[in-house]
């Protein structure tokens, strides 16, 4: 078993340590770890008689040190324990993300948790529902006390001087914390109202739940006795499309779909759910080999072409999958043409962009924006920003971002189709006309009139100011990408469809409401290299 356990902050300073084997110098071991630590190294490192086993969660590192003379160490146990302990802490502190301050604020609580979860390095239990029964009375939760204080304070408007002093120190120590506490209180309140019955029941027969937990182990993700007035189940299929194409050479580099099935379950009792997905029914080999399911899914059921599971309560990701698309499958949104036309004689340069959609006609994008890079054009041509740039688009607005050199064409809604729905945008910039400029300068010099008044911002000066610094002018790959952001509701790029969704609860036999939604969105990378 591990000799000692630490929780370290991002600077590898120990926040809390638990000495299991009476190690004389805990600090030294932490320092030793600091010396050998490399972020990229595997989670197990060995140095000078010590094996260090660590997991990195949020900004913290949970570390366990094992002496090399100590054979009785199942590393799997250590890592699983650290992992579970992290989850446990999150549950106890009721926060989605742990940080340094939270640990420091709850030293005693964590010490006690260590004490309860491990005896002489042997893990006893990490089930939060059980431990909450054990540790409940003595939990010193700064979060909740502070929330209470704040509530008191706002209600009574600071009566006790003692309390006020505390409150002040709190305020000084960090406003954002205050906000966070309020958030937490809010969320817990919400939770309480939504699952009021659950809480009550847990309060009454905690011992029951303990037994249930230990004996009916296979369903460790759902407690018994959950009750909702209205039984609802929400299922969202969201697909992110990643696409990258070299527009000039016409080569598609990436064409991927990252799909996720999000679920929100507000169901009573122990419901059994059955979901059929068309991909599974058709035994789509690609889908089957590239999908991962939540622990609640009984994987055997996948052979029977449906997903069977008893869902955990609340939010969870039922399934993640990744699909590759064929090169010839048209992208949902296609850049059909991109041209830069220079009309030297007219001292003008034009950028023409046309896009087209490739999805079902009855759907349309709920948000679409196209980003057109300009740095290359500014580099190739001498653009005269004293003359106004002109933009024309069939729908939507065009915005000119001067500091980062791009045009943002906000299209908004665009109807689906199979190449027939097209939208285009033209942008026109004036080129620097040397003759004209010299003539003007000459005129100005000779005439007595003041120079003509110009209204609006002086773009050329702003441009100069901003771009003074980056003299190097290296044009990176990113500045040659036409990127698109979009969202298409009610449609999945892969064609994935939920064929049916059955909810069965044998004992309660309630009516339930399943909701299914689909959406396709663009990934971070949805771009054309031009």
């Amino acid at each position: 078993m591990s000799s000692c356990i630490y929780i370290l902050d991002e600077n590898l300073e120990p926040l809390i340590s638990k000495n299991i084997k009476s190690i004389p110098n805990l600090r030294y071991i932490a320092q030793l770890f600091k010396r050998v630590y490399e972020p990229a190294s595997p989670p197990i490192t060995t140095s000078l008689n010590w094996h260090f086993i660590r997991i990195k969660r949020d900004s913290l590192i949970f570390l366990s040190a094992v002496h090399t003379s100590d054979y009785d160490c199942d590393i799997m146990c250590v890592i699983s324990f650290l992992d579970q302990f992290h989850l446990l802490l999150k549950k106890f502190l009721e926060t989605p993300v742990l940080d340094r301050n939270m640990i420091l604020d709850n030293v005693l609580l964590i010490m006690e948790l260590f004490e309860e979860t491990i005896d002489f390095g042997i893990v006893q239990s990490t089930e939060s529902s059980i431990l909450k029964d054990y540790v409940r009375i003595k939990i010193n939760m700064p979060d909740s006390t502070i929330i209470n204080q704040l509530r008191d304070a706002s209600a009574k408007d600071s009566e006790e001087s003692d309390n006020e002093a505390k409150k002040k120190s709190k305020r000084v120590s960090g406003m954002p914390d205050l906000y966070k506490y309020l958030q937490i209180s809010k969320s817990t309140n919400e939770k309480k109202t939504s699952t009021k019955d659950t809480f009550d029941e847990e309060g009454v027969d905690t011992y029951n739940s303990f037994i249930a937990n230990t004996t009916v182990m296979p369903i460790s993700w759902r407690t018994k006795g959950i009750h909702y007035g209205k039984n609802e189940f929400f299922l969202d299929v969201i697909e992110r499309v990643q696409y990258f194409m070299d527009f000039e050479q016409g080569i598609i580099r990436t064409n991927l779909i990252h799909g996720q099935i999000f679920c929100k379950s507000y169901l009573s009792g122990m419901p059994k759910l059955k979901i059929a997905i068309n991909k599974l029914l058709k035994r789509d080999a690609q889908f089957i080999s590239n999908s991962k399911f939540h622990q609640c899914v009984s994987l055997e059921s996948l052979n029977e072409k449906e997903i069977q599971f008893i869902p955990p309560d609340g939010d969870f990701v039922l399934c993640k999958y990744e699909l590759k698309r064929h090169v010839n499958d048209p992208p949902m949104l296609k850049l059909s043409s991109y041209e830069v036309k220079a009309k030297i004689k007219k001292y003008k340069v034009q950028i023409l962009v046309t896009i087209e959609t490739h999805f079902k006609g009855q759907n349309s994008t709920s948000g679409l924006s196209v980003k057109v890079p300009l740095s290359q054009i500014f580099k190739d041509y001498e653009i005269d920003l004293r003359k106004p740039a002109r933009f024309k688009s069939s729908t939507g607005n065009v915005l000119f971002n001067l500091s980062e050199d791009f045009l943002l064409w906000e299209v908004g809604a665009m109807k689906g189709g199979h190449g027939e729905t097209k939208l285009s945008m033209t942008a026109e910039f004036a080129l620097f006309n040397k003759e004209e400029y010299e003539k003007e300068v000459e005129e100005l010099r000779n005439s007595m009139n003041p120079p003509p008044i110009r209204e609006g911002p002086k773009l050329e000066e702003l441009y100069k100011q901003i771009h003074e610094d980056d003299v190097s002018k290296t044009i990176s790959l990113a500045s040659n990408l036409v990127t698109m952001r979009f969202e298409v509701p009610y449609c999945t790029c892969s064609g994935l469809k939920v064929e049916y969704l059955k909810i069965e609860e044998e004992q309660l036999q309630y009516q339930s409401f399943p909701w299914v939604r689909y959406k396709t969105v663009s990934d971070e990378e949805y771009a054309y290299l031009v």
């Binding site: 000495n19 989670p43 890592i79 005896d119 058709k282 080999a285 052979n303 499958d329 959406k519």
Partner: protein, 703 residues
Amino acid sequence: MSDHKIFTRYKANEIRAELQSFEVKKSKVSANKRKDGLKKIIANLTLGNYNEMAYLAPEILKFWKIEDDLEVKRICHEYVRSFGIVNPKNTVEALPFILNDLKNRNEKIQIMALKTLVAVPSAEFIDEASRIIPSFVNRRSVPPDVTRTAIYALKRLDEVNHDRVVECLPFLLELIQRENVDPIIHVAALNTLNSIHESNPNLQPLKLSMETAFNSLDLLQTLNEWDKALVLDALTISAVPGSHEDAYEMIDIVLPQLQHVNTFVALNAFKFIAYLLNYVDSVNESLIKRFSNSIISLLNKPPELQFLVLRNVILLLLSRDVPLLNLDVSYFFIEFTDPIFIKDTKLECLYLLANEETLPRILEELEQYATDIDIQMSRKAIRAIGNLAVKLKHHSASECVTALLDLLEFGVEYVVQEIISVFRNILRKHPSEFKSCIKDLVKYTDSVQEPESKNAMIWIITNYSDNMSNYLQIFQIFSSKFLEETLDVQFSILNSSVKFFVRDPNPKTEKICMQMLKSCTEDSNNPDLRNRAFMYWSLLSLAQTDKAHLLSNESLKNILDGELPVIELNTKLDPVILEELELNIGTIASIYLKPVSQIFRNTRPRYLLPSPALNKSRGQLKILHDTKNWNNLESLDTLHEDFSNNRSDKSAHKKSMMNDYDKPAETVNQLKGKRKSSSTSPSKLSRKPSMLVRKLSIRKPFS
């Protein structure tokens, strides 16, 4: 209340003042303040502020006397534990209080006291512990929680006072055998007994009777996850099946645990079954499928856990000639979000999984990695392709070579370097098959930069000089900058120049050879290089002088330009070590793939205990392909056994609906494969899919 304020260094006086000032009032406020003071002590101990805190010992003892609060007690105990380690003598004063706490009616305080007692490494404490703990274990009236702690404390005590603990061992064994013992005590006794036996080489390995083993296994249902795993761990080795039937029965009991969410339990179940397979003459294929599926589901975990599982997959793939796993390669394909250590391990798995059947898919994947933006990854992928070419037979190797040549055209600098480096190994393994590639390789002579790839290039030029007309010209690219090269490249250049001359003595080669020998002996500062040059020189001159009868040209050629042995990649470990490693699934040994004795000192290696049912060699295990032969397993197991989605499985009893599963997934990788639209094919099941969808979806935009 709690804040960062607690977590700063304090002087002893400050805390003392805080503790005393509120002592008078008995109100709740002062009790809280006092607690804060105590908390500060603990915080300071965590910060390592021992010197200051040492002054507070009297205060702590005072509180111990008067307070009954659990939290205060806890702090007092924590204080003694932390101090006892640093300065055992000073804590002796606290001993009476601890002994007093042992008699407390509150179980928690008793447990606390027990823990403190063994935590302090001083003679007084150990004496007391050795006296008290066995009595706690023996007494029946003690509550189970306390007994359990006492039993685990024995384990700790064993490290300091082995003789006293040995006396308790028979009692522990009796506890395990006794009926109607609280399960948690049973587990504690089993675990403690097992680990004491294991950590003391002078004791015989623990061997349990079949009956006891079955009793322990029957408890599995009632235990929590960690205890489950501990039982499975302890029973590995110590439960020796007397016959094949016993082994089968035990496997049946443990099998459902493979599906457990906790990786620790699943992997221990795995270990236990793998161990039992040594006592079984044949095993059904469905078990292998089950193994594989449980491993695959374990891969869907946080990266650190995934890493451990992957390392164990490597172990299991290596461990038997017919591996216990049958995994589809696609699970080991790398995702760009994987941390580096996962990527490396996955590459290793891919390498091990590669065979003629899977190679095309693996190669396609590796080629993608090779063009990755991440340079390290790209290099590793190329290395892996090279290693595969060395590992596999001629036909598959040529596929690898083709892939490498394709990548070579890619022309990126580091890719070229790496390919040249791996090609040397490929050519050494398959000396004559790939001669035709050499022309392509040599084109890149100018672009090799790194010492390793230079070495490789020089080696290739030298060994295949007869395939090239202008080899000397190419060689001169290197030899002309001789002095600028790193040492190992210099060695290669020297060796090659001598080889050229010996092979084909003509004025040109002689000139180069002499030039090199000269610059080695005259310009080089490195004694090794100089010495080698002198040695060559004297050898060459010996053969040329009138003493030529001492050294014929033939033997000179043999010495300088001999045949190199064919290389083999050594992935096989010693079978004895493998057997030991298989019993250590999940431990550190499995991560490093080294025998336990090399990683942990003072331990007895695990080995299989003899039994009439023990297989003589691990190869003896047969895998049956017929489900009907193994009915007992099926009947106990309610889950449907037909894992028809076991992808790459080439089983004999394939159902007709499975037909599309044995197809390699190239069709899946549609970027390069045949056209197959993934978006527009309609569903076959629902007659009116549009209706269903309309029913199911809500016309409301996403929030």
